[in-house]
């Protein structure tokens, strides 16, 4: 390796474009295979889904129209504890992973019934192996005493959990750097040029030579993919988030809409809007989120809000990831998804292994996630 010998030039085995949760997870996995990895981050102008999300390591309901996505999600959730412990061992950062099960709270009987049907058909599609429970109001109240009196019930997923996403990102960066990774924050990548079976990546004035390149730039992948013969039909989908003050611990489990962090902070969210690249907030959406949270947990009516933000999900037309190697330029890979927290352990595990040596994962078919499915 002659990395850094020439100013403005870097050599690496693999360049990963995107320094968020997805890019770093893949980079950490490639380091486990002994690779020299350069992660190229856009810097503070990036849209940064990794800093705006809800922190769920979530299984239940994911992949309702795609059993392979359910398998991928569950495999990642199973590998998460080891992944988290590895980060903590290497960095000393406790990323607050808790996988004690999660609740999807349904306000109405109709909502609860629909949810039960959805999870039942998922269980059928997965040959009966899909654990969940349906809790009526009193069963839910037995788990969460503070649940609101008008809530119909919840579905319970024993494999669900949550994590502190900011500590996670920090721990991933630290472990990456400790293993000798190069994190280059040199602005957006302007060009990827296939050269002699490898690639040259131009980011600002910086030139990175590498034998493989991984596109993990979130919404930025859309513009980068065609440069290496790939197709990334991605659109932003905005979620708004409310943060309330720290209060005494009352919620033992993450839910799809409200969670309490290890420090006691309350996070509320789960709105979905198509508003382009606008990551602002709006009063009507925040009010709806707050009203639903108070209906779920009436004690939240007393709690003050301290912050809100909008963040953009990275969405394909069917909502599922794209994992694909370029046929035109082998060695170029597209890795894009909207569940960068849940799937981090899979990205550092089987996805990185596939990029390293082409080995197909045992538990799910990579073919399912080929971008070809969007070509008609």
């Amino acid at each position: 390796m002659n990395a850094g010998l020439t100013p403005g030039c870097t050599d690496a085995d693999v360049s990963v474009i995107g320094g968020g949760l997805v890019g770093l997870a893949v980079a950490l996995g490639l380091q486990d295979h002994g690779r020299q990895v350069a992660v190229i981050d856009e810097g503070d102008i990036a849209l940064r889904a990794s800093r705006g999300n809800f922190g769920l390591v979530w299984v239940q309901g994911k992949g309702d129209s795609c059993p392979d996505y359910a398998r991928l999600t569950r495999q990642s959730a199973r590998q998460w504890r080891r992944f988290a412990d590895g980060l903590t061992d290497a960095t000393g950062i406790d990323i607050q992973l808790s996988q004690v099960g999660g609740l999807y709270i349904c306000l109405t009987e109709e909502e609860l019934q629909q949810r039960q049907q959805m999870l039942s058909s998922m269980r059928d599609a997965l040959g009966g192996d899909y654990p969940f429970e349906v809790l009526d109001h009193s069963a839910l109240k037995a788990r969460v005493r503070e649940i609101g009196p008008t809530v119909a019930g919840a579905t319970w997923g024993p494999e669900d959990g949550h994590v502190n996403p900011l500590f996670l990102l920090r721990a991933m960066v630290e472990r990456f750097l400790k293993r000798g990774g190069q994190l280059l924050t040199c602005g957006p990548v302007s060009r990827i040029t296939p050269v002699n079976g490898g690639f040259e990546v131009l980011a600002g004035d910086h030139r990175i030579g590498c034998s493989k390149v991984v596109l993990a730039a979130g919404l930025g992948n859309k513009a980068l993919a065609p440069q290496v013969g790939l197709f990334a039909p991605l659109e932003p989908n905005r979620g708004q988030v409310l943060i309330a003050e720290r209060v005494r611990h009352f919620l033992d489990y993450p839910t799809g809409h409200v969670r309490q962090t290890a420090e006691g902070t309350i996070q509320c969210g789960d709105s979905k809007e198509d508003v382009g690249f606008d990551c602002g907030t709006t009063t009507d959406v925040l009010a709806a989120i707050a009203a639903r949270a108070v209906r779920m947990f009436p004690l939240l009516a007393q709690v003050r809000l301290v912050r809100s933000w909008g963040a953009l999900r990275v969405m394909t037309p069917d909502g599922y990831p794209i994992y694909q190697q370029s046929e035109q330029y082998p060695g170029a890979y597209l890795v894009t998804c909207h569940s960068g927290v849940t799937l981090a352990a899979a990205h550092a595990g089987p996805i990185a292994t596939w990029i390293e040596n082409g080995q197909q994962p045992d538990e799910f078919s990579l073919e399912t996630f080929h971008g070809q499915r969007f070509s008609v």
Binding site: K141, R248, G264, L299, Q302, V306
Partner: protein
Amino acid sequence: MASDSAFKRLPANPADAVEIWVEGQAVTARAGDSVAAAVLAAGLGPTRTTPVSGSPRAPYCMMGVCFECLMEIDGQPNTQGCMILVTDGMKVSFQRGARDIPECSA
């Protein structure tokens, strides 16, 4: 932990004296002071302990950003002392750990 206050009153801008009660102790402040400023000027504090480690904290940014100045002001816990102006007879106590929220009877 009492300590000499590093906060000195400027001789300019005289204002009406206001009496507030901090941890049961009478403190003379000036109209227009924030609670955080009044408490610091009186040399009192630390004004909270964190919910995470229990370590002591005191007002820091004085402009509503850092949340280090959380106190219980007139019965309202977790209130930012730097964002609230003193009023005569105001009762202030320090915030210890996470605030409690009373359970709702369902």
